[in-house]
């Protein structure tokens, strides 16, 4: 008992100092305590990139392949970003993949079959997603059916809907140039760099101002060196990405020239900023974390837990509908298999690999992007190694298991160290 008191006295007397070493040791203590965040995913990304570079030095680390990687991962990443919302509650949405397919089919029917303008098609597509989310949310939050069962049922039911709408062995072609541009066009090189500068300046400016004003108000603020390190890393990392995407990456530049940041990148950026703002800077987002952490405490604090659940399922399915547009654009159409196969597993994997907890209460949409890139690199690299699909599935499954184990272990560690 006296040690406990001593420790608290010690803590009380501790003055936060401004050295980088203490920032680093604080971070390591956090990681040791089980709060690993996106660290395993980032390490995995680096290791995978190095391994595939070593094994396929002539095809993997090329600008062409890098551009491909983003396109291959985009659909899964968008679904994963939506899944973060339900995973934060400790729930699951197994139907998100076929929600993407179904919403994509609605888009196809509207734009291709009925000749609607693209924006009207997008509106009904998103509305379809929101409607599916509303049904799931009502069944889970109001009826009290476990989300696992509800979404498993919808996984099958939506597969049926998609098959009925598209027709067996059929396809709804997407020919609208705006829709196709999402995954098949790139921004001009100058626009890519302009976007880069805007992102850097806005991010740097906002975080710096926040740090300075918080310090002026005598509040807990980031150390300047830590901020500078983060900012510099972002400048360099994004700079490399934009540079790689800006150089000529066509296999045969004489025939077609491919340069510039793919159109899907600003789309992902908008989704990332929007969801991050929603989760971190609004009461609604705070309440999502609270419900995921301790639903009873949230209820007693006057939070309408059922409404939060409902809203999260609507957001998840609407994001899946966005993914439907992305996948449809990439495949130039919708088939009965759009959003099926391993799509959902990859998306859940992406979120979990990125550090979103399956137990709820922990996760960010940025993690879904990092995790999605890990999944995309595995699929891409294994394909370059000429591995059969079976091996790719097997390896991806193992990676998902590893990620879930890291999640469970870090949770146990958190419980034991009280962090």
């Amino acid at each position: 008992m006296s040690t406990m008191m001593d420790k608290e006295l010690e803590n009380a007397g501790e003055v936060p100092d401004n050295r980088v070493t203490s920032a680093l040791s604080e971070y390591f203590a956090k990681v040791r305590g089980g709060d690993v965040g996106a660290l395993p995913a980032v390490l995995g990304l680096v290791v995978l990139a190095l391994v595939f570079t070593a094994l396929r030095s002539e095809t993997f680390p090329t600008a062409f392949n890098f551009g491909n990687l983003l396109n291959q991962g985009a659909g899964v990443i968008v679904i994963a970003m939506g899944l973060v919302f339900v995973l934060l509650l400790g729930e699951i949405d197994l139907s998100a993949g076929y929600t993407a397919g179904t919403a994509g089919a609605v888009l196809g029917v509207a734009v291709t079959t009925h000749g609607w303008p693209w924006w009207a098609g997008v509106v009904v597509c998103l509305a379809t997603g929101a409607f599916i989310g509303l049904i799931i949310g009502l069944l889970v939050a109001r009826m009290g059916i476990p989300s696992f069962v509800v979404t498993l049922a919808l996984f099958l039911a939506l597969q049926g809907v998609l098959l009925q709408v598209v027709g067996e062995g059929g396809q709804i072609a997407l020919t609208d140039p705006t829709i196709l541009a999402v995954m098949n066009k790139n921004m001009p090189v100058w626009l890519g760099w302009t976007l880069y500068v805007v992102v850097i300046v806005v991010y740097g400016g906002l975080t710096f101002r926040r740090m300075v004003t918080r310090r002026a108000n005598g509040l807990h603020a980031e150390r300047t060196t830590v901020w500078a390190f983060k900012f510099a890393s972002l400048v360099i990392l994004l700079g490399i990405v934009v540079y790689l995407l800006s150089i000529e990456r066509s296999v045969n530049p004489a025939v077609t020239s491919i340069t510039g940041v793919p159109v899907v990148v600003p789309l992902l950026l908008v989704l990332l900023v929007g969801t991050t703002l929603l989760l971190n800077r609004t009461s609604f987002g705070r309440h999502i974390y609270a419900v995921g952490g301790n639903a009873e405490a949230a209820r007693r604090s006057g939070i309408n837990v059922a409404n939060i659940r409902l809203a999260c399922f609507v957001i998840c399915s609407t994001m899946a509908a966005v993914a439907g547009i992305v996948i449809g654009s990439r495949d130039n159409g919708i088939t009965p298999n759009t959003g099926g196969g391993q799509t959902l597993l990859y998306a859940v994997g992406a979120a979990v690999i990125g550090g979103t907890s399956l137990f709820g209460g922990k996760g960010r949409t940025l993690d879904a992007i990092i995790g999605g890139l890990v999944v995309a690199i595995i699929a891409n690299g294994m394909a370059l190694l000429n591995q059969p699909a079976g091996v790719v599935y097997f390896v991806t499954g193992l990676v998902l298991l590893v990620a879930a184990s890291v999640d469970a272990l870090s949770r146990r560690r958190t419980a034991s160290t009280g962090r």
Binding site: E8, E14, H220, L277, S283, R286, Y289, G293, N294, G418
Partner: protein, 285 residues
């Protein structure tokens, strides 16, 4: 500690903040509260004691608006009020700290303190203001045991969690804070800290209702002791005027035999301490 009142009986210095008169509550055929009277004053800690099933929880839930009393008069700040929901009670400045604390482990101290009542500006969370107010509140309660208000609640000790839960309850200009067994799960040092905090709440001018099974805690910190016995208010007495043994006797029999001779007190005290311990153990299970 305040000076003891001259008479054997509740301290009658001024108009009570909360005054219950003849309050009743039944669940079906079971009469849980029968004609209960209770006075709670600003600046005083009123301990509410009683054996299991005496009606403490029901009484508190009625005050906090979770249940509605069937009959009797509920007077608050001198006015008769009818409270039917927790929100209504909160609006009057009544806050309850439940035994399980209702904190979210994955959120930090500031986030927990403002949960459900976040301060926003232009639709976005105003974290700076919330953090400042959390710091001010903790400083006002002389809390120095938490290192940073930005640490996750998961990393806090039991006493620190209790501190956060209590600090949350005083954040909203509350006048009456109800604490349900705040020291039940704590060690010796942490119990001491929490009791000091409870005393400080009252010294800061709040009215405090403390529910506890631990007579040592009660006698250490309370100004008034209200004893419930089988749904009746056995008595509400000045804590200075009763001994440990007498309180235990009130809890177990609902009345006080004539003052025992000095020689017998020690024995009775020892016996009742034992029985109190037994009671405690039963309560824990």
């Amino acid at each position: 500690m305040t000076m003891p009142a001259p008479d054997f009986g509740p301290t009658t210095t001024d108009e009570p903040l909360l005054s219950l008169r003849g309050v009743t509550k039944s669940f079906g055929a079971v009469e849980v509260l029968r004609e209960v009277n209770l006075d709670v004053r600003l600046g005083k800690v009123t301990a509410l004691v009683g054996d299991n099933g005496a009606g403490k929880s029901t009484l508190i839930k009625g005050v906090a608006g979770i249940h509605t009393f069937d009959g009797g008069d509920y007077r608050y700040e001198g006015e008769s009020v009818h409270i039917t929901s927790p929100k209504q009670a909160n609006a009057l400045g009544i806050e309850v700290v439940y035994q399980d604390l209702a904190l979210c482990d994955n959120l930090d101290i500031v986030e927990n303190m403002f949960l459900g009542r976040e301060i926003t500006s232009a639709g976005l969370l105003d974290d700076a203001t919330m953090e400042k107010r959390a710091n001010e509140t903790l400083a006002g309660l002389s809390v120095r045991t938490v290192k940073s208000v930005r640490q996750k609640v998961a990393s806090l000790s039991g006493g620190q969690r209790q501190t956060v839960a209590i600090a949350r309850s005083v954040l909203w200009n509350s006048k009456l804070v109800i604490l349900d067994e705040p020291t039940a799960a704590l060690g010796v040092a942490q119990t001491e800290q929490v009791l000091k905090l409870v005393r400080r709440l009252a010294d800061n001018g709040l009215a405090v209702i403390l529910i506890s099974h631990n007579m040592n805690d009660v006698l250490q910190v309370a100004d008034d002791i209200a004893v419930l016995y089988l749904g009746r208010m056995a008595t509400q007495v000045d804590a200075k005027k009763v001994t440990h043994a007498q309180v235990v006797e009130l809890i177990t029999t609902g009345r006080l035999s004539t003052d025992p001779p000095p020689a017998a007190v020690a024995v009775a005290e020892e016996e009742s301490t034992n029985s109190a311990v037994t009671n405690d153990q039963e309560d824990q299970s």
